[in-house]
């Protein structure tokens, strides 16, 4: 997916990982001046008009990797998103934020919190700033399948490739995509759409 980010500053926040690396690379390849925000950086963020913030939750790295969301992710997202001048915010988190998963109560609730915050920020920061999210399902990374337990239930019977998740982030970062805000795209092969098992 090619979009035109020439001349735009792109701030990327989140822990190191294959997904955030793929997203940052694609944003740079499409002309964005990408800068990773230093971990725990609080107040040194500045943005000019038209800048983007990409916020990647640790939850997007999947609960079955043993990763819970970073403590205080919602607080951090809110703080960063309120940086004056930002034109767009794209959040990336787990599809467990759309459909909660048994045995992962805290994780599901945290991710749902990010989904809700994405929508609330859209209302509070509009019309200047558009805020949307991507909820990721099972995906393939480094030979392993992150969130593999989702697969038996997905309509598309395979995990996503990283590029397929990146495509959704590009769609929401695209300056031409201008009437979407407060929406969360599910990139989960239909996992959250319904009951896909045969019975």
């Amino acid at each position: 997916m090619n979009i035109d980010l020439a001349g735009r500053n792109v701030l990327v926040d989140g822990s190191d990982g294959v997904l955030i690396a793929a997203i940052a690379l694609a944003l740079a390849d499409n002309g964005g001046a990408v800068r990773r925000i230093a971990p725990r950086a609080q107040a040194d963020i500045t943005a000019d008009d038209g800048s983007l913030l990409i916020f990647v939750s640790d939850g997007a790295a999947g609960a079955d990797t043993g990763t819970e969301g970073r403590t205080g992710e919602a607080d951090r997202l809110e703080l960063l998103a309120r940086t004056p001048g930002l034109g767009r915010v794209v959040t990336v988190f787990s599809a467990a934020g759309i459909v909660p998963i048994r045995g992962l109560a805290r994780f599901s609730a945290e991710q749902a919190g990010l989904a809700s915050l994405t929508r609330t920020l859209a209302m509070e920061l509009g019309p200047h700033t558009r805020v949307n999210g991507v909820a990721v399902g099972a995906y393939e990374a480094g030979g392993a399948v992150v969130m593999s337990r989702l697969l038996s239930h997905a309509a598309v019977k395979r995990p996503a490739g990283l590029a397929e998740i990146v495509a959704a982030v590009m769609c929401l970062a695209d300056p031409d995509n201008s009437y979407m805000t407060g929406h969360v795209l599910a990139v989960d092969g239909g996992w959250s759409a319904g009951y896909a098992r045969n019975f």
């Binding site: 859209a122 509009g126 995906y139 996503a160 695209d174 995509n177 201008s178 979407m180 929406h183």
Partner: protein, 258 residues
């Protein structure tokens, strides 16, 4: 968004309307061969005539016989259908009344086109996709399928039906290589709705100004903005989304604007 649809055949219903014609232009600009289907054949002709290697077909989406003939004509010319966009739809403008007064004939007309028609056309087109093991379906729903409104019960019910039918289609067709998603436009500015939104002096009418206070972006969408989102749902790179409802409503349904 730069997307390459070179060679892909897109079957687009309701092609003569505002969103339909904008979508036809946008996808054709990406290399798609557009089949402009509409009950208004003259309107469909007008859309197709300006686009490279496009064709038009007359189609009342309520008629399975017409749908079958249209699909035959498309397959005869191009040999394939890659994308189906179920865009044809109508709402009630003359009968804005509560359900206890809602005319049965108007209910049948709206549900017949918006929901039954989507089923009829999908049923006719999907076998060509199943045969090739790949395809995309984009169903145009509406915000009212998510958040109900008064005085248009048939439209509300039909669009809610479209959204859930989309999920059901995604579950059934995913293993066959076909991705199915829905898109819900919010208020959209078209030639038809312009007078509804704006007074003669070019400012919002009072009723619309109040309404727009509930929309975070504070304005209706443009047909080009809806077409851009439809393009994403057709994009070859966007290949792991299915059964999803994509809201393109300026944030209207994101929450309550206190």
């Amino acid at each position: 968004m730069r997307v390459d649809l070179t060679g892909q055949v897109v079957f687009l219903t309701g092609a003569a309307g505002g969103i339909g014609s904008a979508t036809a232009r946008r996808l054709a600009a990406c290399g798609a061969r557009v089949v402009a289907a509409d009950i208004n054949l003259a309107g469909a002709d007008q859309v197709a005539v300006g686009l490279p290697d496009a064709m038009s077909v007359a189609l009342d989406v309520r008629s399975s016989e017409q749908a079958r003939r249209a699909v035959d004509a498309v397959l005869e010319r191009y040999g394939r259908i890659d994308v189906l966009i179920n865009n044809a739809g109508v709402n009630t403008f003359k009968d804005r009344v509560d359900i206890d007064a809602f005319p049965e004939a108007e209910w049948d007309r709206v549900v017949g086109i918006d929901l039954d028609g989507l089923f009829v056309v999908s049923r006719a087109v999907v076998p060509a996709m199943v045969a090739r093991g790949s395809g995309r379906v984009v169903n145009i729903a509406s915000v009212v399928g998510v958040t109900a409104m008064r005085l248009q019960s048939a439209f509300v019910a039909a669009k809610a039906g479209v959204i859930h039918l989309t999920r059901s289609m995604a579950l059934e067709l995913g293993p066959k290589g076909i991705l199915v998603n829905a898109l819900a436009p919010g208020s959209v500015l078209t030639e038809g709705t312009k007078a509804l939104f704006y007074g003669d002096d070019g400012t919002f009418r009072a009723q619309m100004a109040g309404f727009m206070e509930h929309v975070p972006l504070g304005r209706p969408g443009h047909v080009e903005e809806i077409a851009e989102a439809i393009l994403f749902l057709c994009a070859p790179q966007n290949s792991y989304m299915s059964g999803h409802l994509m809201m393109v409503d300026g944030g209207w349904t994101a929450g309550f604007m206190l």
